[in-house]
């Protein structure tokens, strides 16, 4: 026999970790069966138990959206678009700095000026930090859900504005952020959906060129967000229903406008 016991065992482990049962690993060398058989059973038990660990569907969905946002933010940054602040504000350490900035700027009336800021604008971080602070100090789950729905509406409006300016990468980021807020609201205790979405979209679907990816992603977000909102509407408390219905109307309108604009610019 040329193969060492470790080599031989490793060959069988290959089969175990690829999902085969120990029965498929019949030890060819009869004199080794007694030695390797019990070890393979232990290996199978370990592999089986560890394989049962899976991320939750909610986390998988939220992480995918965040990853997609980061990906397109990187592309946008690489293309020298001035939306680097959008990524910057997502960093944890930025919150503390921005909090101090908001306190300073509040006295100068900058908060009011930031209300209509777009991601390419200098005051946009002030806007999103103010939103985060409002969420952080709101203790009622219903009020937090109302705020998230309001912020989702803002992201949708910003998405259309950025598409109008020809910045499709940022428009996609904003669509993802709006969808994330909607899923967060739907799975919050105020509404209580157990699974925020169908898992329909990938970071970018197969066979999609980078050129058309924004439109495909926007369509996927539109479908996903509407599905979640429909489910949320069915189980939401009465006081949240008007906000959800209004957002559904806005969502369809803003996505349609954005997609139509990108289709026009892509075709030309």
């Amino acid at each position: 026999m040329n193969e060492s016991i470790e080599d031989l065992f490793d060959r069988y482990v290959d089969r175990l970790v690829s999902g085969d049962g120990v029965s498929s690993c019949a030890v060819d060398e009869a004199d080794l069966t007694e030695m390797l058989g019990p070890l393979l059973h232990t290996g199978e038990l370990v592999a089986h138990q560890l394989r049962t660990v899976e991320p939750s569907p909610q986390f998988r969905m939220a992480a995918r959206i965040r990853m997609r946002n980061l990906f397109f933010a990187k592309l946008a940054r690489r293309d020298s678009r001035p939306n680097f602040l959008f990524v910057w504000w997502q960093q944890r350490w930025a919150t503390a700095m921005a909090t101090a900035m908001v306190v300073c700027l509040a006295s100068l009336g900058v908060l009011a000026a930031s209300f209509n800021a777009l991601p390419s604008g200098f005051f946009y971080p002030v806007k999103v930090t103010t939103e985060q602070m409002r969420l952080a100090v709101t203790t009622s789950e219903y009020e937090r859900a109302q705020l998230r729905l309001e912020y989702a509406e803002r992201r949708l409006s910003e998405m259309t504005s950025m598409a109008d300016r020809g910045d499709s990468a940022t428009a996609v980021l904003l669509a993802g952020e709006a969808t994330r807020l909607i899923i967060q609201t739907a799975t919050s205790t105020a509404i209580g959906l157990s699974d925020g979405g169908s898992g329909y979209f990938a970071l970018a679907p197969d066979s999609t060129s980078v050129a058309v990816a924004p439109i495909v992603l926007l369509n996927a977000d539109r479908a996903e967000a509407l599905l979640v909102l429909e489910a949320a509407l069915a189980s939401a408390p009465e006081e949240l229903k008007p906000s959800i219905e209004r957002l559904m109307g806005e969502l369809a309108r803003e996505f349609d406008a954005t997609i139509a604009h990108l289709e026009t610019t892509t075709a030309s």
């Binding site: 490793d10 232990t42 560890l50 899976e54 998988r60 990906f71 197969d206």
Partner: protein, 179 residues
């Protein structure tokens, strides 16, 4: 150029489709690797996202030089986890919180039983030597090949195979009463 090399090269150039494939292929196993080591769902979720954010940041600088992509990815995961443990100034948890398991039957009793079994396995793995533990986690938890594990740990494949064999022998002894 292999298919994986092509995928990584395209992802590094900003191809969303290629990056998406790498992400989807590796997401679950990175999470699993972190969870079986940390035993905490929230921390594993945070770190999984940090790992892929880091991959996105540095994938442009990835060079093959005979290092498989999975080895490179799990080095990042390992380093993130070590940084996290140092930052939190704590030892890795042996006991874990409840996590979502891939069970077809969502019966709470089955879930509890599975959690118990999983914790026994994690607890016994934690008693192995650090090198054996790392090999078992990467091989059985993350599903890496021996070559990928060797490359991730900077060891020879022969050493990895020996650590794997001895690790399972030790686990067998530890788990014997239950088997």
């Amino acid at each position: 150029m292999s298919e994986e090399q092509d995928l990584v090269a395209r992802a590094a150039r900003g191809d969303a489709d290629a990056f998406s494939k790498l992400y989807e292929e590796n997401f679950d196993r990175v999470y699993r690797y972190l969870y079986v080591r940390l035993g905490n769902e929230a921390e594993s979720e945070d770190l999984t996202q940090e790992v892929f954010a880091k991959v996105l940041e540095v994938i442009g600088s990835f060079q093959w030089r005979d290092v498989p992509f999975a080895s490179w990815l799990f080095r990042i995961a390992h380093n993130k986890m070590i940084d996290h443990i140092r930052r939190e100034k704590r030892v890795e948890r042996v006991d874990s919180d409840e996590t979502v398991l891939s069970l077809d039957d969502p019966d709470p009793a089955d879930i509890a039983e599975h959690n118990l079994q999983l914790e026994k396995v994690r607890h016994n793995i934690s008693k192995l030597s650090p090198a054996q533990r790392e090999v078992i986690w990467l091989r059985f938890g993350a599903g890496l090949t021996t070559t990928e594990v060797a490359s991730a740990l900077g060891k020879s494949t022969g050493t990895v195979k020996a650590l794997q064999y001895n690790g399972i022998v030790a686990l067998r002894r530890l788990m014997e009463p239950a088997l």
